[in-house]
């Protein structure tokens, strides 16, 4: 890959910017008390929380910046922020 003049990029190229590297804490989805309300997914500012199955949400860690909003807002405290160990 070469840098174009003025940093021009093709549409959709934002996905190449994997912002997960910024993370200090990652969300651990406990899958114990989840009521399937979907607030975590709706409130994620990155739009990187997805639903695999009923009561089964997960974060795409390539893009999750570890902001912790999902864990803060989960009404049943089913998400915990854990320190990222690299």
């Amino acid at each position: 890959m070469k840098i174009t003049l003025g940093g021009v990029a093709a549409p959709g190229s934002s996905r190449l910017n994997k912002t997960g590297g910024w993370r200090v804490f990652y969300p651990e989805f406990l899958h114990i008390r989840c009521t399937d309300c979907g607030l975590c997914q709706k409130l994620c500012p990155e739009g990187c929380i997805f639903k695999a199955d009923k009561k089964n949400f997960y974060a795409d860690l390539d893009y999750c910046k570890g902001c912790g909003i999902c864990a803060e807002e989960c009404p049943v405290h089913d998400i915990e922020m854990r320190p990222e160990v690299r």
Partner: protein
């Protein structure tokens, strides 16, 4: 149809610039009126209204918007032009970095006026020097003919694919913009021949979408800035080439990166930018008649900065006197700083004095310049305010 004939007309400096811009056929103009830049855009909007110029004249609510509008227009492949001064220029500043970073060849007339506070509407060059590190090519005009010619050259420099950078033309407020001088006005045919339509490398179109202004992570940013720096280096050659081509086509040459006057065997050399150079030429001529070996070096391109050309031009001199209408507060005059830097590690370094003059429209008189000459001969000055009036100052 009769062939067009080149005319010499007496025009106000601002009108001359407007005529030059018209001849360059910009597609989009957006500007916000501010003294002493107003006459330029006033004339251009009149030309658009009268159907003499087929361009989109976008009315905006601020200089930040004006700059943003021409940035967008240029991104869409248009030839775009704007003009401003002083506070308006400073309001544009954030957008100026983006124009350069996005490699958009916008041409901007930076009418030079002092900056607040205290508020002044009069001339010095502190405003456009604040854009020193934006990535803009910066050229400074000495007189109205040069200002007119420089605009035609500026589009050609900016749009050259080796450069693709915005170009700023510094033009002293009032001293040039509001004075009437005879100027030779090129014909449309000549300008069309000299300046072909702009061919963008990338441009925004719904037919082939792309992203401009992407975010970069640390793994790309350095290279992007390096490319910008390299484009500035390329501009050196292009400015020289364009000045030569202009000379061939129009028969006028007012310097390329620099210009020299009475420099052979000169022992004392004045260095400056903009209209002040004309004052210095007159004084140098007078001093030559008295048998003093005095010359003048004009810095025409401030960015890219012509380090080598300056060193070559000044190396034989005994004393170099930099006269400038700006001050990097807490340091020295900007030009003096850079000329000193150019000489670091070189042999035969001349003595050098830096003088700050003419801030906020104070006239730079013959007496002021001769005082500078006297002081520089006595000792070297790092940064002396040459035309300071001590009677106005309280002892602290």
């Amino acid at each position: 149809m009769m062939a067009q004939v080149r005319k010499t007309v007496v025009l106000e400096g601002s009108r001359g610039v407007a005529e030059a811009v018209r001849l360059c056929r910009p597609n989009v103009i957006a500007a916000y009126p501010i003294t002493p830049q107003t006459h330029i855009v006033e004339n251009l909007s009149q030309m658009v209204a009268d159907g003499l110029l087929k361009a989109e004249n976008i009315r905006v609510e601020s200089e930040h918007s004006a700059a943003s509008a021409v940035l967008g227009a240029s991104a869409a492949g248009a030839r775009a032009y704007t003009a401003t001064t002083s506070q308006g220029f400073l309001l544009m500043l954030e957008v100026l970095y983006n124009m350069a970073g996005l490699r958009l060849p916008v041409v901007l007339t930076a009418v030079n006026r002092g900056i607040s506070a205290p508020l002044t509407i009069h001339n010095d060059i502190q405003d456009s020097l604040a854009a020193r590190d934006t990535g803009f090519v910066q050229l400074y005009a000495e007189d109205n003919q040069e200002a007119l010619d420089m605009h035609i050259q500026a589009f050609k420099i900016a749009e050259d694919h080796r450069v693709l950078l915005p170009v700023l033309i510094g033009m002293d407020g009032f001293i040039l913009t509001h004075s009437f001088e005879p100027v030779s006005l090129p014909t449309q045919e000549e300008v069309d021949d000299f300046l072909p339509p702009y061919k963008p490398v990338f441009y925004l179109t719904p037919k082939a979408p792309l992203t401009m202004g992407t975010k970069t992570d640390p793994e790309f940013y350095t290279e992007a800035r390096y490319m910008l720096h390299k484009a500035q280096q390329n501009a050196r050659q292009v400015i020289v080439e364009v000045a030569q081509e202009f000379k061939k086509k129009f028969g006028r040459f007012s310097g390329d990166l620099i210009d020299t006057y009475l420099m052979e065997d000169a022992e004392i050399i004045f260095v400056s930018m903009g209209s002040l150079v004309s004052n210095l030429r007159a004084i140098a001529q007078e001093l030559r008649q008295e048998g003093k070996k005095v010359g003048v070096l004009k810095i025409r391109a401030f960015r890219p900065f012509p380090f080598e050309e300056i060193v070559r031009a000044l190396s034989g001199a005994k004393i170099v006197i930099v006269m400038e209408k700006d001050i990097s507060l807490g340091a020295t005059g900007v030009l003096a700083q850079e000329i000193r830097a150019a000489f670091y590690g070189k042999a035969n370094v001349p003595r050098l004095s830096g003088f700050v003059v003419g801030l906020g429209g104070r006239d730079v008189t013959r007496e002021t310049v001769l005082k500078g000459l006297r002081l520089a001969q006595e000792s070297d000055h790092l940064c002396t305010f040459l035309d300071l009036n001590p009677e106005l100052l309280e002892e602290v």
